[in-house]
Subunit: 214 residues, 8 copies
């Protein structure tokens, strides 16, 4: 039927497979969930899952972890023991929360300890400045921001850890679905910033887990 | 010969004419300078003047003010008496200096008092934070920045005055000749920011003079 | 829960907080409204509110001002006393009315006197020319236009006040959701024009209030 | 050698061939000029000719008409007798002159009577308003403008003749080499405007000649 | 209430007002229709009318002409007597029919005789070649095409009349909603082609009527 | 009624007509299906058929072949006898399946033998490397991929047959509806890759059939 | 020194290595030429060679074939014996000749018989129509066109062979360096067209040789 | 004079200041070099230095390290002792060498051990596959690639370390100065890839040093 799960990825690369649900039918996702259920030794994530996808997964794996806003499911539901350095995730505004939570869960299910700071946009600098200690304790900082995407430049100027920037599609007009924030981040005047795709919380969480690996 | 100077603009709008040299031949600019020389009662600016343009102007108006890096000449060379509020111009990096100086001269020759703060990019926040008092004394702040264009968002969060943002073409790759900075500024998460064209120091200085008018 | 309202903004910057509803759930907006209700000393705006957002706000603050077409709510419903200069808002066509009204309400709730001129597009110049007196009485003019976005260039040529241009997404095809109007405005051949994001009536109203501040 | 001149185009379509020099070597253009010299019964234009191209043409056809700024040559040098309606060409600013002259010459060599109005940009509306009579005598109006490209919308609102709009690459930054003006013109809020390629004075002149044909 | 109909346009420009419905509420369109009903001496078009708009118009003007697919209504329903030259409209594919019909109706209600040729795309050249006689009888040809937008170049090579090209949003992927066809047409290798906005059948019909005016 | 089927295309070009349903009403498609039913000697494809289109076709041609996911119908339902070389179709991920199947059916109904390899994306190179023998038996390989679109470069490095690359709109954010994959493929560092439009399975299948023709 | 020539490519893929000179220093290209000189059994192409590159190659391989306009060198200078089907290359205008010749040479040095038709643009259809017999004798047709890029759609409608379309950067303004032609070709309304990168004569010649392989 | 060196950055962030030369005059760069010469305790990099910039630096700091092709100078010339994990840099083609070397030097001068693999593009997979052991010994891999930018996706599928992808401007036509490679990398189908700006070797080297920090 055309689906060829890469469940050996954990063995090969050390990190588990994730199922990108967006382009699949609920039937396809359900079939994958059934196969996943045979491998409780491997943690599997389902990302960008709409309600119908989630239902199909939960039908096969009723105890799966599910964060509806973040569109993410995980099975088995208990994250592995934590190891490596600490991941700090910073979100600029409330509207960035779904993506920020996708980062948090992904890094957690890949075995890292994670802390989340929200509503720290640069329009009120005091909000990020008062969290400087938390930021400086991180092995890697993930910054999630839409609109002007200015926050990663500011954060990278405050810490010595690498910064992973996640542009979000929050905004309108000339934000062009996150392109404005993406470009801001690619052109950061602070060195130490790298960028993932717009709204790609999964990719940022995965990368953060790799950077903070033991 | 097709040129129809709008020297009555001062009467009509209260602000003098400026000659945009970039698309004109030195001969055309020289002819305009000759005409300008008959009207010492009006201040005229020549903007985006290359070396050949400047030479043509200075041949007709040898005592004209000339800032070569900013590509700007003014005649008569003495700015009018200052009036209205104070204009503060902030530049993110050294490479933004030519545009920042175009802002400064334009506002000065339109009769405002101007102060310039340079090298205040967000990669080292302490540099802008220690100038908070200067910023708060302004009737309007002009912020000039290339690359990520993040500085106006930060400045607008610190002051109650309106902020005019000038994106510059400083940068490379995905800065797309200033487009990245332009989009950042249009999507500023701080209210109170408006934007002019990339590298348009003249436009920003003009607008600042209007905002700070008596 | 990740939300960190900046209600001290009035103290810090002199202008109140506004809640951008578009990326938030009605539940989040409702929770904010509840908090807002504890601070009748501060005027709070809710912008880009859909019907569900409005309902959530009105459930907490039943007497809030609501302009459904403009997607805006304000509480307390009575604007502060007016002060400073006059803001004149000009709209090119009927379809620009929702954005124009967002400008009007924002400036009013920030304490300015506001006048609105509608249907003044350049296809029939007599419509804007006959309002010259109103335009010249303004401390700042906000021009709202979609499609070709040509109106701000014409208005800026008629007045000595600064012009804030708001491109709207009105149009189709090569208007690219307002990009055509945005570019027109950024390239205005009349000095004295600055630009905010597409459909950003809130930003323009805020800026106009700052420019016309006492 | 790969070149296959379409000198029969006059017979077939009623309008002569034009040689687009930009992508050709001076040698190729010279060879074409030699062939053209055998057909004095047909008017041939050479467009977008740089200095080396012009030299190659003039070597073969020493009496050819040459406007260096417009990059255009014509042979035989005397235009045909005029017929049909009048073509009025309007240019926004001095920098648009080279393109405006390409329009003028093309229409003249295709047999039309042409009048040129320059420096009529919308920043000073009085300049175009005082030429209303000239505009209204036209069978077709060609409007040439860079930067904001707002002039065609204004002109089309004043006349009943069709308007051909020519965006020019005059401007900088977000004018994107004429794209801003092109989009403005495509989105004109005045009906009766059609558009040709950026800087395409030849195309506009040709079209105007066809529209004003007897 | 902000609406300022330009019903004097017929007097001023010789062509009637058209109401662009897309950005208006059905209530606003209904109010306009009521006003239109007081002026049976003037032909008024309603363009880009959805079902709710059409209903609102027909409620006020029950005998109005309505082409649902073209989204166009006209009142009074009888077109004026024809005069001037003939307009020929050519459509590339069946999917371009709604736009082609918008062209046809607009030119008819502006007083021209119109002929429509459909399904004449360049993939089967014989289809357009066999209509050469019809094409050559035209005073102006309007060519409507999506996808590659190649048809206007071919048609312009066959006729001496001017060609108005209308790109449509027919296509997918890299057609970018009509941008590909628009660019093709702007870069036509046949002189004598000008272009209107994507899907702008109204603009093309208006222009054709002006070109073919008596 | 404006529809002019090109059923003689088989005679003229050797390949049957295909009906592009996306821009047509179900009624138009039904009328075409009726006409198609009179020509059982010719294979006709209906592409990009939604449910309503399919219903209209099946009402006229109840035994037509229908793949709903691929949006494709064919009549008569039996493909012609196979001839020529073998076509191998490779899909990167499960989400590319609908487009990959459009390729497969098109090539089959044009008379080729086709083999499909799915889920062979470059994130797990072993998946494509183990199919090297199948790839090398192909006369032409069609590679279907979204997101990074990297697979065709890898495949073209492994085979001597020409590769037709089909970018898909699978992805989000900076995939820009398939533009990222399209650009990757146009810039392939492996020679021997050509590209069709985003999601254009029909075009790729047609071309593959032509390349592998006897 | 970082260079790792893939001279085994002939063995692996059946086609020789080509050296892309554009991004290399003349010294690097010279060093490669020296290595190439040790392998007279393999045909090697140097593409996009400027004058300095060519000089460096000819210093090592004085008898190499060199077409300066096409920026191509080949060694050994004698092409292999021809085999497989015939490749026909069609160029739209004289300015497309350099790219067309890059196609011709590449296919010749990969062992195909090639015929070139130039100046066959769609503005004068008779020029391509009179070459129908030549076109129909081809196993594959390569069409090279800039500006509107309309020629491949027309050619593909005339032949049953596959068409490889090469957009060129010939044009100006809204041709965007070949993007307009590229999009036209990707959206061809004639099936059977695939596209390579702008100005990629090498890629098209390579692909044509593969399609026409014995 | 507007320049405000951030030489305390080492103290604050743990990494030294770098001087971006591109937008500065040689005089400005020379003045900075003089100041740098007073701080031999801190390593300073000069990036994007043209010949005139390099000369100005070497005049002040004659023993500075200088890689002309990479546009980079460093002073003091001896890199600090190495510490932390190993950085492996992979370049796709010879033309990517200048950027790859900018990565190498930056990471070296920030105290890491670095290994460089060149000419490993995906057109010949064996070249990267045979370096698997080197890749797997890395704490972080930096992949530098232009054109299709496909290499990072392949590399990330082979290793468990994080991958920093650097798109280069190598290519032509639809590579759009590196945008194609940038988009490929942002859309990588392998998790664990993050991206920096086009040609930003400095940024990638800095980030790699941070990721591999002790
Ligand atoms: N939300 C996501 N964004 C980007 N890549 C993802 C996402 N979720 C999963 N992936 C990757 O895409 C691959 C899934 O593709 P598929 O095989 O079509 O499910 C997995 O191997 C993941 O590494
Ligand atoms: N640097 C500049 N950028 C944008 N607009 C300018 C600039 N300099 C002058 N202008 C405006 O453009 C007009 C000059 O156009 P021109 O008549 O062609 O010289 C003046 O009236 C100015 O208001
Ligand atoms: N400046 C121009 N812009 C656009 N098209 C032109 C121009 N000059 C000539 N042409 C057209 O392009 C064709 C010339 O192409 P060529 O045969 O390469 O000289 C002519 O047939 C003209 O109709
Ligand atoms: N899915 C498709 N994508 C691109 N072109 C298609 C597709 N289906 C059919 N076509 C072509 O478009 C033409 C159909 O246009 P129409 O006459 O409007 O049905 C046919 O002649 C096909 O060659
Ligand atoms: Mg998978
Ligand atoms: Mg002027
Ligand atoms: Mg907030
Ligand atoms: Mg020609
Ligand atoms: Mg109106
Ligand atoms: Mg058809
Ligand atoms: Mg190589
Ligand atoms: Mg600095």
């Amino acid at each position: 039927d055309g689906i060829d799960l890469d469940l050996e990825r954990t063995a090969r690369r050390g990190y588990p497979e994730a199922i990108y649900c967006a382009g699949k039918t609920p039937e396809q996702v359900g079939a994958i969930a059934r196969e996943v259920g045979t491998r409780p030794d491997v943690t599997t994530l389902f990302t960008r899952a709409g309600d119908a996808h989630a239902e199909a997964v939960l039908h096969e794996l009723p105890d799966a972890f599910h964060d509806r806003e973040a569109g993410l499911l995980a099975w088995p539901p208990t994250p592995p023991e934590t190891g490596g350095g600490r991941v700090v995730v910073v979100g600029a505004g409330t509207s960035d929360l779904p993506v920020a939570r996708e980062v948090v869960h992904t890094a957690r299910y890949l075995g890292r300890e994670v802390e989340l700071i929200m509503d720290a946009g640069v329009a009120g600098l005091h909000r990020i400045l008062r969290r400087r200690d938390t930021l400086r304790a991180a092995r890697v900082v993930v910054v999630v921001a839409g609109m002007d995407g200015a926050l990663p430049s500011v954060v990278a100027g405050l810490v010595s850890a690498p910064v992973v920037a996640v542009p979000t599609s929050v905004g309108y007009g000339a934000s062009f679905g996150g392109v404005a924030a993406l470009l801001t981040m690619l052109n950061s005047c602070s060195p130490g910033v790298s960028v993932v795709n717009i709204d790609n919380g999964y990719g940022a969480g995965h990368l953060a887990a790799q950077i903070a690996a033991p």
